[in-house]
């Protein structure tokens, strides 16, 4: 018999040595692997291998094709371009891990942002208060989604298809469709767009915040009970319920935390575009889902990694920037992003199959 210890790892923590079975019947052959085999197995069994492979490939190809592409400056730019989608992607990932989906993330962001602007500029509240209240609008919208899902028992796709329209209509109602111009936006609102220089390249506080949020939520999902429960609820709701998890409480908390993240993203968006606009980023609903999906998280819930979403967002940004630098028209950029979505997921699946 030649049963070897499985390398399947549910998380990225260092591998626990395969325990000897109490009856000692199991042989472990990891010791017999060559270092190369070991690396291969270790790498291929990682859930992020697919997105990483796609990203590395894209970086190599585009760097060869366009000389302007492979600069630190451009990488910083790409990260700035995708930071809003990536942040929405954190919220989206949380929801998708519970086997849900949130079609309303962009609407919530716009509403929160417009409320911030209205309160600070038209109403004249202190800027800090307006900011906090705007973020709380995000939290409230998340809570509304959560209540519809948990109390009315409506599938998240349908619930957020509804609130997508509702929040967007409120956003237009409050803003009258008008932007607050740059000159009138209080500096605090714009703070996340401010930058600092490293190696002659500009980085922004917004970029930093985005990365920090990813690290934070990667930790939470991997190492806390709440994170574990999110996976359990998404994996099998009924089993989680019977196992004594308060599934409705977990779901509510996920939608509320998602709303909080989206509220913060509203702040990030203002810093990014310099003004407060009721329409900037209305297309980010699907874009955030695209990032999650390319990052290898399953739309059926219970499987995936938050860092995949960051990779997914960056991959889309790299393609969009690379294609544009290589002189492709927007039409063909759209076409290629379509192929990318399918291709990236196909590559991910193929690699994971080999990796097992």
């Amino acid at each position: 018999m030649n049963i070897s210890a499985t390398d399947r790892q549910k998380d990225e923590s260092p591998a626990v040595p395969a325990p000897k079975s109490p009856m000692g019947l199991v042989e472990i052959d990891s010791g017999r692997l060559t270092p190369l085999q070991w690396i291969e197995r270790r790498m291929l069994s990682r859930p992020l291998i697919g997105p990483i492979a796609v990203l590395v490939l894209a970086l190599i190809v585009f760097s060869i094709v366009s000389p302007n592409f492979g600069t630190l400056q451009n990488f910083s730019l790409i990260l700035q371009q995708v930071q809003v989608i990536a942040m929405l992607g954190i919220a989206q990932t949380l929801v998708i891990l519970t086997a849900g989906i949130d079609l309303s993330v962009a609407s919530i962001m716009l509403l929160a942002q417009v409320v911030m602007g209205k309160l600070a500029v038209a109403v004249g509240l202190p800027v800090e208060l307006a900011l906090v209240l705007g973020i709380l609008v995000g939290v409230a919208c998340g809570a509304v989604n959560g209540l519809i899902v948990t109390r009315l028992n409506i599938p998240p796709f349908i619930a957020t298809l509804g609130t997508l329209s509702i929040f967007y209509a409120l956003n237009l109602f409050i803003s009258d469709g008008e932007s607050v111009p740059y000159a009138e936006v209080p500096p605090l609102f714009n703070w996340l767009g401010q930058g600092f220089q490293v190696f002659g390249t500009t980085f922004t506080f917004g970029q930093l915040l985005t990365i920090l949020m990813f690290v934070l939520f990667a930790y939470i999902l991997r190492s806390t009970a709440w994170g574990m429960h999110i996976y359990a609820v998404g994996d099998n709701l009924e089993a989680a319920r019977l196992s004594g998890i308060r599934v409705n409480r977990v779901l509510m908390s996920v939608y509320i935390v998602a709303g909080l993240i989206i509220g913060v993203t509203a702040w990030l968006l203002i810093g990014r575009i310099g003004s407060i606009s009721p329409t900037a980023g209305a297309s980010y609903n699907l874009a955030s889902i695209t990032a999650v999906v390319i990052g290898g998280t399953s739309l059926f819930g219970g499987r995936g990694r938050i860092m995949g979403t960051l990779l997914g967002a960056v991959i889309v940004g790299v393609f969009s920037s690379g294609l544009s630098l290589a002189g492709f028209d927007n039409l063909w950029q759209e076409f290629t992003i379509g192929l990318l979505i399918i291709g990236a997921v196909a590559v991910d699946q193929r690699l994971r199959k080999i990796g097992r």
Partner: protein, 321 residues
């Protein structure tokens, strides 16, 4: 207020706009409501769901026809609505196009529009003068890949005004002039403007003139320009004339913009409705155009010789939104 006043005694006039997330149409609606109240009409508004949502507009025209409207004002999202307009006309309804012309062949009763080609030309001519002898490196930030008529007219007008051969004037991006560095589509909002500008600058950091489809796009583009520290090198021009846009002209964020007049547009159209309902006169097109031009004015604080313009003080007085 959710429901509009339904004074059922007053003649019904329907206004069909393209989208409600653009202040231009919001203002047009406000102007129309005010004028309708003045004239004693019951004005109702319907909207599509985007710049090219033909289907919602057809629905709206049918619904107004069914309600027995006396006149319909529509901002066409495409010539797909012509058959619906003709059906409405057969039902005895007066139909005007607003904002963008449908062409004489449509048989429309009248058109009240901004001359978007002219709007583009004005900023194009101004830019040529402003740049003077500096060799031009031009980028355009357009609306979308769909080649929407307004998008095309403004873009081609700008190039024409600058003196660039537009090849096919019904198509964007078929030009071969070496001064044109590139173009990106932006969805006409700030986020698209910034990302588009960043990509263009990455492609060619020598850009010194940027045309933008509207002022929100220009505001976004400026953020990218500023981040790259190129605000002294790059001139941004735009079209629209909304108050946030004019304020940005005042701040020097946008160098010049062509102002259009949605309030005037509604007013003229409703007065023409009254004229027709009173004695059957139909509006006359402006000279040399197949529509009634409701006016375009260049707004800038850096006037150039030989080019008529107004400053931002005037602009802030006249702007909409």
């Amino acid at each position: 207020n959710a429901a509009a006043s339904s004074n059922s005694g007053e003649p019904l006039v329907g206004l069909v706009i393209k989208t409600q997330d653009n202040p231009f149409y919001v203002k047009m609606t406000e102007g129309a409501k005010a004028e309708a109240e003045e004239l004693g009409y019951n004005l109702q508004v319907a909207s599509g769901d985007g710049q090219s949502d033909v289907d919602s507009q057809i629905k709206a025209i049918e619904n107004f026809t069914a309600q027995g409207a006396k006149a319909i004002l529509v901002t066409p999202a495409g010539d797909g609505i012509i058959p619906a307009i003709q059906k409405a006309q057969q039902a005895g309804i007066l139909v005007f196009a607003m904002d963008s012309p449908l062409g004489a062949a449509s048989g429309i009763d009248g058109t009240f529009a901004t001359d978007n080609l002219l709007a583009g030309q004005l900023v194009g001519e101004w830019a040529k003068e402003a740049l003077g002898s500096t060799p031009a490196r031009i980028a355009t930030l357009d609306l979308s890949t769909d080649q929407i008529p307004v998008d095309v007219a403004r873009n081609q007008g700008f190039l024409e005004g600058f003196g660039i051969d537009t090849a096919d004037p019904t198509k964007m991006w078929d030009e071969t002039d070496p001064r044109l560095v590139g173009h990106e589509v932006t969805d006409a909002n700030e986020a698209g403007g910034r990302t588009g500008m960043e990509k263009l600058l990455q492609k060619d950091p020598t850009i010194n003139l940027v045309y933008t489809i509207n002022e929100p796009t220009a505001a976004g583009a400026y953020q990218a320009v500023q981040a790259a520290g190129l605000q002294d090198q790059i001139t941004i021009v735009s079209v629209d004339g909304g108050c946030p846009g004019v304020k940005n002209v005042q701040q020097g964020i946008i160098a010049a913009t062509s102002m259009q007049f949605p309030l005037e547009m509604s007013k003229q159209a409703l007065q023409a409705v009254k004229a027709y309902l009173d004695d059957g006169t139909k509006p006359q097109n402006s000279e040399g155009l197949d529509f009634t031009n409701t006016g375009v004015t260049l707004v800038t604080d850096k006037p150039q010789d030989g080019i008529e313009s107004e400053d931002t003080t005037w602009g802030l007085d006249q702007c909409w939104g």
